[in-house]
């Protein structure tokens, strides 16, 4: 394999990462509810993709990466006997320490949101992640999930209400400006 072909292959991977990485991360996050683990799944899927240089050609790269990342998340959860519950993961996984200037909410509130998202039904968590992490419209989410936009709107409203209830139950106050 010449250097030129190797360089082209790396460029191709980089382009796929730029185009698909954000969306894949969100889908992994919706599955596991943990930002760091979602990043690990993304990295793992692209590492496997890099190894496929001499393998069989991949027809749908996005679907392939998504499947690899989901399988990896499932294996990790099974190995650790953890059903992707961030509240338990928080005990041994490093907490994502975001830059203070980047976040307008406290770490305590972020933990509460993580916990609330984990307690939601997978379908509710999925629409919330797609809407608020990727800023997708209801129409686009409906296309991906093969349903109607009005159904997505209803599911979003229901998920927000449930998350609000969870936050109130956990004693998190909303500080109005």
């Amino acid at each position: 394999m010449s250097k030129k072909r190797s360089r082209e292959w790396l460029d191709q991977i980089e382009q796929v990462y730029r185009e698909q990485g954000r969306e894949l991360w969100a889908l992994f996050y919706a599955q596991c509810g943990n930002a760091d683990r979602a990043s690990d799944a993304l990295q793992e899927s692209f590492a496997r993709y890099h190894e496929q240089r001499n393998g069989a050609p991949i027809r749908d790269v996005r679907a392939w990466l998504l499947q690899v990342g989901r399988n990896w998340l499932r294996d990790v959860a099974r190995r650790q006997k953890v059903a992707a519950k961030p509240t338990e993961n928080l005990d041994y996984l490093p907490t994502r320490t975001g830059e203070p200037a980047d976040s307008a909410i406290s770490e305590e509130l972020r933990d509460a949101v993580r916990e609330g998202l984990a307690q939601l039904k997978p379908a509710d968590r999925e629409v919330l992640v797609l809407r608020y992490s990727l800023n997708w419209s209801s129409i686009r989410i409906a296309e991906v999930l093969e349903t109607t936009a009005s159904a997505i709107d209803m599911r979003l409203s229901r998920a927000r209400k449930r998350l609000a209830e969870i936050l109130e139950k956990s004693g998190m106050k909303h500080e109005r400006p």
Partner: protein, 195 residues
């Protein structure tokens, strides 16, 4: 329980949860992924440095063609205003008569309405463009000055023109510079009074 209720007197509305989730994912998402990839449409519409190039042969040809069309249109306009158009036949068969001052043409036995007269006056005030020299050469000598052209203004809608005379003009005749130019001046039809 009472203590908790008293502490959580500030309820979370859906709008509050919306803004909270937006901020939450802004902090959660890895920095290298926060910026969404640009869509294909935005990439297409992104401003690119303008590349100035010389006009191609096709562009020049299109420009010349446009000039030719404009010249033909101008020629037809001038021809419409020339004495050729004085061979007027009204729909009821009456012959038209030119006014002595040659500013307008009235149809015999058909009264000139006020709106017609107003339109004539407005049209007469508009300055006409000076036609190119090759077109001027095709016109009768008395019509070569712009003032003379401006004087020949029709007040009718033009449906009473005898177009057969207009079609006799050799518009697309190729020019041969090696030979002296052959001018074809359309004959002016005689009015009934002149016969």
């Amino acid at each position: 329980m009472k203590d908790r209720d008293s502490q959580t007197n500030t309820h979370w509305s859906e709008a509050d949860v919306e803004s909270l989730l937006t901020e939450f994912f802004r902090a959660e998402m890895p920095a290298e992924l926060r910026r969404p990839p640009r869509s294909r449409e935005s990439r297409v519409q992104s401003p690119e440095p303008a590349v100035l190039s010389k006009p191609s042969r096709e562009r020049r040809a299109a420009g010349y063609k446009g000039l030719g069309v404009a010249a033909c249109a101008l020629l037809l306009t001038v021809a419409t205003l020339s004495p050729i158009g004085k061979n007027l036949v009204s729909p009821n068969g009456d012959k038209a008569v030119a006014n002595p001052d040659r500013t307008t043409v009235a149809v015999k036995d058909s009264p000139v309405t006020e709106s017609n007269a107003t339109g004539t006056a407005i049209a007469a005030r508009k300055p006409l463009p000076t036609p190119p020299r090759e077109i001027l050469d095709m016109l009768p000598p008395e019509l070569r000055s712009p003032a003379a052209n401006a004087a020949h203004v029709f007040d009718g809608p033009g449906d009473d023109l005898d177009l057969r005379d207009l079609l006799e003009i050799e518009v697309f005749e190729p020019r041969d510079n090696s030979k002296p130019r052959k001018r074809r001046i359309p004959e002016r039809r005689r009015l009934p009074e002149e016969r």
